[in-house]
Symmetry: C2
Subunit: 424 residues, 2 copies
């Protein structure tokens, strides 16, 4: 089976660049091509089973509306809005009528396959209130595309993403009062799909539930940036070629908690996930940088000749295909390249970061994700040493990190008119 | 962090053999030592939080007992007994009073962490009825040990295995009428632990539920053995050193379904999972054999000098630590070695299987697991070719496979008195 990257991507200039990059990646630390990004159940593309009939939406309003929490008491994902959106699927009938109901417990048979075999995939997205009071989503099409890719990797049903975005908009309108107007605040939206088959045989689920819950959230850094310390983890691996690391599956999360707790006992905020492989240019065993905690990772490195480069790991199947990651790359290509930057999706190693740091060429490092948008990194613990990432002791954030935050939140909150921001 | 295999295993002769074997494995296809088998949450061994008070057991009998299904209609894991056993855990109070209640749906908040981040681990075990009508479990201590290892790998709470076996016995007594007396029949018992924390922040669950459901099952091969065909899978990888492949986590199952469906479309019954690595003795890239579908794999290979060897992959973190696998190895060491066999837990490759097959030295191949005990393999599809595994066209099972089945079921059904069989 050929790599999908070689056959199915649009041949725009940008995609070609990524395609070339991926080709070299695949040579670099694996000798075999894995088709995982394209791996899906043989029956996953039946259009009848994918369609969602938005006109069938049933709405049952809560009769006991919750109080809106004071802003300063909001904790990520702890309190939820009044309602939830849900759609059941069966292999016989496809997606049934969507329902918005009061937020309520799910009643699940103890044999439900999601509880035994991790048939579950989710998304994280946010709704923002702009200065006119309008509610906006940020690139919801990307979340739908990724969720469809995630679920099909584990034989859960795919769905019509545009129809689901329509439903999300209806849901956001109903929950509008929970979205704080202040900058930095938003409504975190969690679409989640679970397999609901009630038998213990391991096979493709014959039924599923796609549901959405939402939690009002405050700014990730309420009192300004606070740069974090990462522990480059050499005793556990998050993802590998031919695995499922590129999909937003529950299966990728629970296994990362113990390493996270262990890093915390040594004073680090997050794990930096590595992938050990041979750099075929040098024949040396290297630790390739993949991603950090639940974020993608970017490094700003100045070449020995003085040219600045923004680099992040390529989409080779071992990292999550972050929406913010994609946005940062696009903005950097548009706005940093004219300033003389190189923007690269390419494999890079701890050796490279270590050398750049010791030679004063590591300018800044940051994580990217839906929760924080960007998260500055002060240093990385690796093999018993601390690698400083370019931040002066009196600063908590670097210039590129800060500019990215401004650009992206400007679009998210509608200050800058941009096709990525979709009015509800 | 050092490998636990180097420091913490009992130094019995058998363990030393395994230890030496593991050492060489680790050299063979990875250059780094992973501590995964010993990776657990920093607070995982608080005895107060582990203890289960069996005397607190509350029993609420079903008032609507189910009919016992006719034997010939039993399907694995589809119908369940009248009751379930459950114990809740909280980080503050540890394990609460155990309860046996009518089989019933779980009521779970839609934010429950098991549904989003795969905080879930399970066991598979069976209760058998012997010729005197007594109910027996097979090596339940092994299941408890493995479940504790699995849950601690994802920061779920560990528990007192002996106390839990006591509860399982009580449960089996209550469900005794569902256990068919006929040979080959049994009650499949499914302990499952899920994280029940109701927040979306990714962290160690502050609450959990351990529950048991049970399903009467018939013989895996009701009309006699039927040898299976395997597809050696080169486009997807089940587990990786430093990953969680040795733990019985939900996370290991959903990602394997699409490859299983794809193998089926090409006429194969199961995937044979491989691990690509470099054999450092030869410097060659090899496909190491790991396990098959949801079973461990054994091969009987005659050396060019004529000496027979029973070989299976070592416990290097990439295969499940099967109870039947362990039992087969122990029985083979006791009963086959005196007949001139070598019994090996060592890395072996598709190249080795291919060569042995083409030279007429591949005697037989079989899978091992709780469901089938042993499952004979006719052939393996690999790189477009079919590797015959030693079965003549008119036979469905090899001699060693059959002897293993007889030995193990003899113990399970109490025909042979053995410490592995525990009366309820």
């Amino acid at each position: 089976m050929a790599s999908p990257f070689r056959t199915s991507l649009p041949r725009s200039t940008r995609q070609l660049t990524r395609q070339q990059c991926l080709r070299s990646t695949q040579c670099l630390y694996q000798r075999r091509t894995y088709a995982t990004p394209n791996l899906r159940a043989p029956d996953a593309s039946d259009p009848k089973l994918q369609s969602i009939d938005v006109s069938q939406l049933q709405i049952q309003k809560s009769t006991t509306p919750k109080d809106v929490m004071p802003h300063d008491q909001l904790v990520f994902g702890r309190t939820f809005t009044d309602h939830m959106l849900s759609i059941e699927w069966t292999a016989g009938d496809g997606w049934l009528a969507p329902r918005i109901t009061p937020y309520q417990n799910l009643s699940l048979d103890p044999a439900t396959c999601a509880l035994h075999y991790a048939f579950e995939a989710f998304e994280g997205m946010k709704a923002y209130k702009d200065r006119n009071g309008d509610v906006r989503l940020f690139r919801p099409d990307m979340n739908m595309k990724r969720l469809n890719k995630s679920v099909s990797r584990i034989a859960l049903p795919t769905f019509d993403g545009d129809a689901f975005i329509d439903l999300l908009k209806r849901f956001c309108k109903i929950e509008e009062r929970f979205i704080p107007s202040a900058r930095g605040y938003s409504l975190y939206i969690r679409p989640n799909m679970i397999g609901t088959q009630r038998t213990l045989g391991v096979g493709p689920p014959g039924s599923a539930l796609l549901y959405v819950i939402a939690s009002p959230v405050g700014p990730y850094y309420p009192t300004g940036f606070k740069a974090i310390s990462l522990e480059a983890t050499t005793y556990a691996i998050r993802a590998w070629p031919g695995g499922v690391g590129a999909s937003k599956l529950g299966a990728n999360y629970a296994p990362c908690i113990v390493p996270q707790m262990q890093a915390a006992t040594r004073g680090f905020h997050q794990n930096l996930w590595l992938f050990p492989g041979v750099d075929e240019r040098t024949g040396q065993q290297e630790d390739f940088v993949t991603e950090v905690g639940t974020m993608n990772l970017f490094a700003c490195i100045r070449s020995p000749q003085g040219k600045p480069e923004l680099v992040t790991a390529p989409l080779d199947g071992t990292i999550l295909e972050g929406v913010v990651r994609d946005s940062i790359l696009a903005l950097a290509r548009e706005r940093l390249v004219p300033e003389g930057w190189t923007v690269s999706e390419r494999p890079f190693t701890m050796r490279e970061l270590t050398e750049a740091s010791s030679e004063g060429r590591l300018m800044e490092v940051f994580g990217s994700g839906t929760a924080a948008v960007v998260s500055p990194v002060r240093n990385i613990g690796y093999q018993g040493k601390i690698i400083e990432c370019g931040l002066p002791p009196d600063k908590e954030v670097g210039e590129v990190t800060l500019r990215m935050l401004d650009w992206i939140t400007g679009i998210q909150y509608g200050d800058e008119t941009h096709e990525w921001s979709v009015k509800v």
